[in-house]
Amino acid sequence: MTDFLLEILSEEIPARMQAKARTDLEKLFVTQLGDAGLKAEGITVYSTPRRLALIAKGLPAETEAVSEEAKGPPEGAPDQAVDGFCRKNGVTRDQLEVRDVKGRPTYFAVIDTPGRATTDVLAEAIPAIIKAFPWPKSQRWGDASITTESLRWVRPLQGIVAIFGDELVECEIGGVASGYDTVGHRFHHDGVITIGGVDDYIEKLRACHVIVDHEERQDIVGAGAAKAASDAGLALVEDEGLVIENAGLTEWPAPLLGRFDEAFLDVPEEVIQLTTRINQKYFVVRDGTGKLTNAFVCTANIDAHDGGKAIVAGNEKVLAARLADAKFFWDLDQKTTLEQHAEKLKDIVFHEKLGTVADKVERVAKLARWLCEEGIVGNSFSLEGEGGAAAPDEGALAKETPHTLTQPSPSREKAELADMAEQAARLCKADLVTEMVGEFPELQGLMGGYYAEKEGLPAEVSDAIRDHYKPVGQGDEVPTAPVTVAVSLADKLDTLAGFFAIDEKPTGSKDPFALRRSANAVIRTLVYSNIRLPMHSFALNEANMLCEHYPVESEIIIVRDTLDRLGEFAEVQVQNRAANYALHELRGETDAPIDLGYMYVLLDFFADRLKVQQREAGVRHDLIDAVFALGGEDDLVRLLARVKALQTFVETEDGENLLAGYKRASNILKKSSIPGEDPESSADAVQDGPGLLLSQEHGALPYTPEPAEAELTAALDAAEPKAATAIAAEDFAGAMAALASLRGPIDRFFDDVTVNDDDPAKREARLGLLVRVQNAVHSVADFSKIEG
């Protein structure tokens, strides 16, 4: 067994590409050798800014010899056939063997493929790997680039070391031939280094100031930076990303501590951290009290002969210039109020069909005010966030009765809240036109918050400006302060409704406006604080605003008349999806380019996001489907409460049995060709009871019911109103409990009573009873969607 060393030397490889390059190199190597039937006992890959290296341990000297047999024509076959067989297998006629096959002498060719030298396999593999290498960006260079067919590499390729044992693997690609020679550190070592093989590679390079192992360099950067800070009595702010990046920028890392003028500490911490990290790749440092202090750690690539004094001085000068710029922006931005900055939002197009950012801000401001004035945001907070785990309690759900205990003067507070939410919303995007956010887009929101604070705006307002983008990702904090919640929700809801209204919804992997993220954020915010947002009213409100914003000659025209009619119509029919069709019809009468039916598409979109999001929280998607299938639910908090009660219920024995009973009832109904009820229209059906079977009033039977039959009827009579009352009060656990009382009677009914009785009257009545069971269950959820 022999070890193999490959080093691909090039001009500096971007740090961010090195990790994937290592993986790709190993993958391509394994595939290439695997195709030839070779497998190494172990593979290690390394990277430095100038080289990718691979060490494969324990390769055989050659591939295994293979002997194959091919059966040919029988002896005495025409010459043509025998010659053809020989040609095909690359043997001569006298090499053929004759064997007996079922009594017939038959020609056989034995083809021995001798083993190939591993060096030959490697010599072919190396150019193939280089040619196939999937760099995210690659380039041409030099004389050969007179055509676009020339070799591409991440940066110009400069050398290949390929040694198998101590034998050179000879190959060539793009004018670069393999050899034993490589180079050491760019500045610490002149001339070439001759490598003997795997055994001396790493140490020979180390002697020439190159640490090949990226992990070793990462350790040096991490530990060295921490030490540089602690030697000065300070604490490094650890940053794994910076450690990896600096290790990818150096072959001989040397962390050094520098200082900057304390006066710059006036600038917000985040700004200092960002300019230091992104522009200069420096670590920042905290003092004993945990405050950011006027020091940094940079990582040099040399052991400077003055111990790094000149390097530190140089880096200090650069950082000072960067911080001077940041301070210039910080001071300059504050010479203008946020309100004045916001004026410039008129010049920024949000989306050509949705107007400028100023137009968006106008909508967000109105929406934020509406959310407060309607009491949607602002009075549900006494509940505190419970992650939506519990069903909201009744009192807090009634919008008209805010908690007087926590809000002594609700109407005044409500007005104040609405004013602050509107103010924050009007200013929340103003920082987009400030110099600082122009320089560091990552600071959007944060800078607005700082500037608002400096202007002396109420803390609620500056907090809302700062945090209105939250929650940004999975792990991000969910806002709970009422003003912040109002602005955050208004911003995202406007974005969602706007893009859905112009039919720019996400498709497949494409979500250019990050609408999935916005919807997730809305759901998390609503659920976290039990905020009851009626989506339909919101969508109508939004459509109104989109309409108001557009002049008649603009590309988007919503005919007011249509909208007015839609408003009335939708209020009446809001529970019914049939409204959607009516909307389309209404739309057909006009040329409104906004599909007013978008709200339903948006609601479905929310349902999908909810499923994805709740799956991670362990909520069964089939249960979400079961509740959604009832239709008409546009309050995500209520929906989730229902789903959670359902999940708790179906996992109990009562629930399981009820589900089994329900399924049995459904099967019988299906077989009896009485159409199972369409849950899409169940809202009407439950109340009005259309159709033949339910027209029979409860109890008015033309025969004496069997005891189990009577018991089920009585149980239904008792359970139905209980469930209905509980549902009206949004007490879903109570509704489930009411349904659970049906379990025993249903079981006995199936045990004791023959549904398909010969007497059509009995049969019809009993089927009717089953329909009642089904309907009662559907008042909570469409159990047919529940799996298992």
Binding site: E11, E12, P14, A15, R16, P49, K137, S138, Q139, R140, W141, G142, D143, A144, S145, I146, T147, T148, V154, R155, P156, Q158, R186, F187, H188, L249, T250, Q280, Y282, C298, A300, N301, I302, A304, H305, D306, A310, I311, A313, G314, N315, K317, V318, L319, A321, A324, D325, F328, D347, I348, V349, T356
Partner: protein, 314 residues
């Protein structure tokens, strides 16, 4: 003894190279490497890359090695002479080598040594920075070269220019002369740079002596005074004239009008009269003109190039 000076040899503060000596040294160095030493293009432009010796010469198969200083105008970077490192007018040292030589990095590093940067005292690094010029329809891969954390040079392998593949690829080096000089001389402000290496009182001149007043006045004009109606008008006229040149198949004059339009656009930006929404449209306009000029340049030469360089095609 230290005060003794050889006649005719300029004095250097603390033995460090003056601004003009740095330029002369780079000229000598690149001249020895076989480069033509050209003079600046006589028009306002935002970068040395706009010089025809870079843009147009990067197209086509003919070898081309040239070095020159290009004054650059970036109106929005003006700070009225108050910022020690930001200027609306400064110098780039530009080297273009086509095809890119295999030892280009080493040639570059040797040029740094020539102007007195010791790579074992200062931390020289090649940090990924891909270059793209939307206004020229051009892009390349390369690095910004750091010296102790400061970007001192943009190092690029041109891959496309004017929307055309570069065949062969040219290597472009753009040195920030003032930044490098500040390093070499160890000064904190660009205005304190020693321009000619003589002591003060004996004819010594600083960068500030030469350019500070220019920064103050030009910043004022760029940001506050420039007549925007006139500028809008000039932009229109330059774009119209560019098209006129293209109609007459005159790529070089056409290219100059595109460069003019580009600079006027920059001035309009500094005056703050171009909205974010309009910005893209203006840039697109300039790009189309520049691309048109590149296309006309290729059309004019492609037959000759194809006949003289086997294997080359547009």
């Amino acid at each position: 003894m230290d005060n003794v000076q050889l006649a005719g040899k300029p004095a250097q503060k603390s033995g460090k190279m003056s601004f003009q000596d740095m330029i002369l040294t780079l000229h000598n160095y690149w001249s020895e490497q076989g480069c033509l030493i050209l003079q600046p293009y006589d028009m306002e432009m935002g970068a040395g890359t706009f010089h025809t010796a870079t843009t147009l010469r990067a197209l086509g198969p003919e070898p081309w090695n040239a070095a020159f200083v290009q004054p650059c105008r970036r109106p929005t970077d003006g700070r009225y002479g108050d910022n020690p490192m930001r200027l609306q007018h400064y110098y780039q040292y530009q080297v273009i080598l086509k095809p890119s030589p295999a030892n280009l990095q080493q040639l570059y590093l040797d040029s740094l040594s020539a102007i007195g940067i010791d790579p074992l005292l200062h931390d020289i690094r090649f940090v990924e920075d891909d270059w793209e010029s939307p206004t020229l329809g051009a892009w390349g891969l390369g690095w910004e070269v750091w010296c102790d954390g400061m970007e001192v040079t943009q190092f690029t392998y041109f891959q496309q220019m004017g929307g055309y593949d570069c065949k062969p690829v040219a290597g472009e080096l753009t040195y920030g002369l003032e930044r490098l000089a500040m390093y070499i001389q160890g000064v904190d402000s660009v205005y304190a740079l020693d321009f000619n290496g003589r002591p003060k009182g004996e004819g010594g001149v600083t960068y500030g002596d030469v350019f500070h007043e220019n920064e103050v006045q030009q910043s004022t004009w760029n940001f506050e005074v420039a007549n925007t109606d006139m500028l809008f008008d000039l932009f229109k006229k330059a774009t119209a004239e560019c098209e006129n040149c293209l109609e007459h198949k005159l790529p070089l004059p056409a290219y100059e009008q595109a460069v003019k339009a580009s600079h006027i656009f920059n001035l309009l930006q500094a005056r703050g009269v171009i909205s974010v929404a309009e910005r893209q449209a203006y840039m697109g306009r300039v790009r189309d003109l520049a691309k048109g000029a590149c296309e006309a340049w290729i059309d004019k030469n492609k037959e000759r190039w194809a006949s003289e360089y086997k294997g080359w095609s547009v």
